[in-house]
């Protein structure tokens, strides 16, 4: 019998495996949320830096 099928048949093993996977899902969801929020900040920070660059160039050239 395969390892997967053994887990699926035994109650204890199945619930332990599910608990382990649920924990991993939570960790993954948290990592994804951090990544999502960080990717929202990047264009914002980029825009501020771009505006600073424009002001810098303006003072340098004018």
């Amino acid at each position: 019998m395969s390892k997967v099928r053994a887990i699926a048949i035994t109650n204890e093993q199945f619930y332990a495996e599910r608990q382990r996977l649920q924990l991993q899902i939570k960790q993954r969801a948290k990592a994804d949320e951090i990544e999502r929020r960080a990717s929202l900040y990047i264009p914002f920070i980029g825009s501020i830096l771009f505006a600073v660059a424009i002001i810098f160039v303006k003072f340098l050239v004018f």
């Binding site: 395969s2 997967v4 099928r5 887990i7 699926a8 048949i9 199945f14 495996e17 599910r18 996977l21 649920q22 991993q24 899902i25 993954r28 969801a29 948290k30 994804d32 949320e33 951090i34 990544e35 999502r36 929020r37 960080a38 990717s39 929202l40 900040y41 990047i42 264009p43 920070i45 980029g46 830096l49 771009f50 660059a53 424009i54 810098f56 160039v57 303006k58 340098l60 050239v61 004018f62």
Partner: protein, 274 residues
Amino acid sequence: MPPKIEVSRSEVLKSVLKKLGIVFVCIVTIAGMLGLMMTGGKTLGIHKPDDKDDQTLLQSYIEWYGIFFSLALSFIIGQGWRKYLRVNSEIDREIDALTLMVRTSEMLGQKYYQITRTLVRIVILYVDTVKSLTVNDKRMDGDTAELMKEIHECIRDIVKEKKVSDSIKNQLLLHYCEAYDARGDRFDLAAQKLPRIAWFILIVVSFTWLWGFVWLEFHTRELNLYISACTLGSVSFLFLMAWQLDDVRKGRFRMDFSSFNIKVIEDHNEKQGV
């Protein structure tokens, strides 16, 4: 509605700081280009063509080259957007097929309780594993591939049963095939990326077009700054979009597994006492 995930600001800040290097390089490049546009290339010691006929020719060049450039960039963004939508619809298709497969297995009755329970539990483990791995999943040699093989073996055992109705067998096989096909398409779409040479060509094409603005004669510096900043800002934004849409495994437009929901399967689980 999915539960709200609590994330501390310091964790987000750490992630932002990791990416700041790329942002800094991009901004320095953009600022450098802006400086060149404002000085007409004098900082590099290049003479600006100030002949009136040359300037008219340059204006026409910017115009027709701009059409070609915008078409190329919009094509890449369009393709990326379509890929992003399709990969998410494949995820939906996969979970729908798995749910229907579990629902169909309910029709087998109490005699086949053991085999139904095993199938449902393997599907639950498959769904949980996919959700825990998301973009790090592997098509052929990963845990989910092993679980898919187990689902196949469960279906095979049911198909072997002579007393099970052929229509149930057909439906189970149909839903299994649908899930397998959607899974394959999901991996295939996620692996599709624009070749590096295409990015290189696009950057060269962008630079060629933007150089036209460096040599363009402006009577007022304010107008020069306004046109240069707007053009560079728009091109940068479109590049950012194209870059984010190119890879559905990371960034803002990555695969969305929120629909990979096992609620229906959980309901079945409780009802059947699995």
